[in-house]
Symmetry: C2
Subunit: 487 residues, 2 copies
């Protein structure tokens, strides 16, 4: 039996009926060569033989005196975890996304290890899909991505010999987890021990807090803290129903914009989100005057482990008050540069404490109702690095890797991106009731990218294009949108 | 806005993460004549036009000061409620039951009207299926059955003109519901008003209680009360995962046994359950010495309404301590005859109060732990009358109607039967973790029926068969098992 770390445990404690806290990933695969018609049935049969689950896939939750532990299960029941399903006709991406939207809503059963994998057949174009959901208490997005990639290979033949994700041996993190205060040992004693263990964190964190206060005083536009966000459509109580939408955007096109403006791909992607959200909210006459604020999870993992949660977060405003696409991106870039400079000074634990302190004004506001127009943050935007080469799984080529992350009360929209060498795969998950017609964001993201590309063109119609803008324009027709709108 | 009745409300209050309280029905249909290959796709398109939901299908839950109300929803979202899905290959009944097992686990979202209907294509034999789930707070099994049948016709062509179940106008019950004690008016006052309204119930109920006490004193073997049941495998906390199994048994064969022994089909069916449960528990070396006790819901509906819950219940022992099939059935028959004679003396409300009083010894035992070997009851067995003629829905013939009912903590197994003119359709739902390999019960039910049929044969090999046993034997090869085992 192993006690859960603090953040892992938090994901269990905050779960509720309307708010399941698992994360999902939808993967699209293309069988290679002369694939037989019963490729997926054969694959199903093969995977059903793989019932030697490794940790954490064989660990179930045990509660003793209110404390959570992971315990190896003795009666591992693969048929509960591995499920073969099919899309109804006509088997478009639309039907796939409708199915994932539904399946993502269901809670994982705590009587079993907290994961389930769906092998999905019936796509009209001959591809097949895998949707896997894992409780966030088991791992964060970066750990999950690494684990999935360990079941794949850059070589088609080798991929046939690799075990499925649940049989892959995982690496434990070498970072010590924050201990969970235990009622058994007395919560005061636990808090003391927590403080003692993190005494080294105090000085850099205090420095950071002093700098934050100076920034608030000086109204530094690049400093964003929790509670600065304007109340918006996305910040309401959520229903238990989700809508999932996903699409791929060309990595070379995004990279061309980043290179042209000497910024990062992450900043371009945030600018695309800012542009898309601005337009979505304008359609509904719901755009706040102040810029939307994104909570941006930051991995603080410093090794190649694949377990638990090692995440902190920062805030970025999304420039949604600016009508000019380039101005919007520059504002976002300045804000993110500020964040990165400050995060670099902190250790993983320190950045977590500093993140928590930045939440304080917003949390106080939520309790006191001092400023009813403000909320902690508007939307979660997370960017997870994906594979940099073509990957194969069980004899099929990976052609899409779309994350379906968390939606919580007052955080009804979550945009998560996985960047691969050829495409940035975007997965958007939202409360179906609170965020109407959310799938429009997919098109608006593309439009926002085009807008940014257009800023690279010289303004006059007669002027000659620059080198970088030419290459971008040349690339645009080559864009291949692998996943389309959901109903 | 309409306040919920007491029993309806109870189904909402007692719902929990591991214990969703909706009821489901799986229906099998056979397209008639030269059905086109895209029959189900066409049907899906047609049903997607039907978005004029009638009550209760357009009512969502509203909570005001802790009180539940139904309120007509303004933004009815058919795509949330009506879902088109498909079975994976090879599309056997096994795949269908695996899907229903999974889908039945999910909670209904209280932000929407509490129902969902799945149209399921991909059965290898050309049939298709419908699985509908409705929260038990909306209606009981009898009401649900009537409502489903109102969307069907005995005439193939007429069936094409009928609206889907969610557009069928429903009849309200004329019986006044028990009022819900309201914290707003003060719970003491509410209890007083409850007592005043039911003052007429007191005398017959007191008579019934006196008779019950006499029966306990005299150790009347036909009188069963809550708390008499032996602790068994089925009486543990449940997981959130279910297994659903279903099969049809020949109505003429069951009726032949009932006629031969001048008893009811219901008694024969209970005897089949007793026999099957005895064998299932013996396999696992888990058969208690004392007979298992079934809680048997009894409809107290006295009109043709299709809303709310109008149910009471009684207890029956299942003779599982007896190795002889006929002795077992006689014991069950005596017990049920006793129950019926006593229920006949009571009004619907009185029978509910009397049922609650019979629960008292068991409830007291659960609280005090006085007799740790005893539990309230072992298994719920419910028998709902189904259609007596061949029915058609949307141009297809109904060929199976399998209920998937409730599983609750300490009640991990539920057997519900719907009797039609040609088949008795049995749906068994159980906690997947607590009740291992539950699908064996399907075969054991058939074996138990054969055992009862065999008792109708004269004992010696040389003796001539009686008329009734001949007809039964002749019928046996004609039995058609429409639904087979699940994995």
């Amino acid at each position: 039996m192993k006690k859960l770390g603090f953040i892992d445990d938090t994901f269990l404690r905050f779960e509720s009926r309307r708010q399941p806290l698992h994360i999902g990933t939808l993967m699209l695969f293309e069988p290679q060569g002369e694939a037989p018609k019963d490729f997926v049935s054969k694959l199903t049969e093969r995977l059903r033989q793989s019932n030697m689950a490794a940790a954490p896939f064989n660990q179930r939750l045990v509660v003793r005196r209110g404390i959570h532990y992971w315990k190896e299960t003795k009666d591992f029941d693969l048929a509960h975890h591995f499920v073969h399903v099919a899309l109804p006709k006509p088997g478009r991406i639309r039907e796939l996304l409708a199915m994932v939207s539904r399946v993502h809503c269901g809670h994982l059963d705590r009587a079993y290890p907290l994961w389930r994998l769906y092998l999905i057949e019936g796509l009209e174009d001959g591809r097949f899909a895998v949707y896997i959901k894992v409780h966030h208490a088991l791992m964060d997005g970066v750990a999950g991505m690494r684990l999935l990639l360990k079941s794949m290979s850059t070589n088609l033949d080798t991929s046939l010999e690799l075990p499925p994700p649940w049989e892959v041996p995982t690496k434990k993190s070498r970072t010590r987890n924050l201990p969970v205060p235990s009622p058994a040992t007395g919560s005061l004693a636990a808090l003391r021990s927590l403080a003692r263990e993190h005494v080294n964190s105090v000085i850099p964190v205090l420095k950071e807090v002093r700098s934050n206060i100076q920034d608030i005083w000086n109204r530094n536009p690049d400093f964003v803290f929790g509670g600065q966000a304007p109340r918006s459509l996305f910040n309401q109580k959520v229903s238990a129903t989700r809508r999932f939408a996903a699409q791929s955007y060309s990595t070379p096109r995004i990279k061309a914009v980043a290179d042209h403006y000497q910024t990062t791909m992450n900043d371009v992607v945030l600018a695309m989100c800012g542009g898309a959200l601005r337009r979505y909210l304008m359609d509904l006459h719901e755009l706040p005057d102040r810029p939307l604020v994104a909570a941006v999870p930051v991995s603080v993992r410093r090794d190649n482990s694949e377990l638990s949660n090692e995440i902190s977060f920062t805030f970025a405003h999304l420039g949604t008050h600016l009508s000019d696409a380039l101005q919007r991106m520059v504002a976002i870039k300045n804000c993110m540069d500020y964040n990165k400079a400050h995060l670099r000074k902190l250790s993983p634990d320190q950045s977590l404490v500093s993140g928590a302190i930045k939440l304080l004004p917003g949390a106080l506001n939520a309790i006191t109702g001092f400023s009813p127009d403000s909320v902690l943050g508007n939307v979660i935007i997370s960017h997870v690095p994906g594979p940099r080469r073509t990957m194969y799984w069980q004899g099929a080529k990976l052609c899409g890797l779309y994350p379906a992350s968390l939606v919580v009360d007052y955080g009804a929209l979550n945009i998560t991106l996985i960047s691969r060498h050829d495409f940035v795969d975007v997965g958007i998950i939202a409360c179906r009731k609170t965020v109407p017609q959310m799938q429009r964001l997919l098109k608006y993201l593309e439009d926002a990218l085009v807008e940014l590309e257009d800023t690279m063109q010289p303004p006059g119609p007669s002027s000659t294009p620059t080198a970088s803008s030419t290459s971008t324009t040349a690339q645009r027709p080559a864009k291949e949108t692998t996943v389309a709108l959901e109903n």
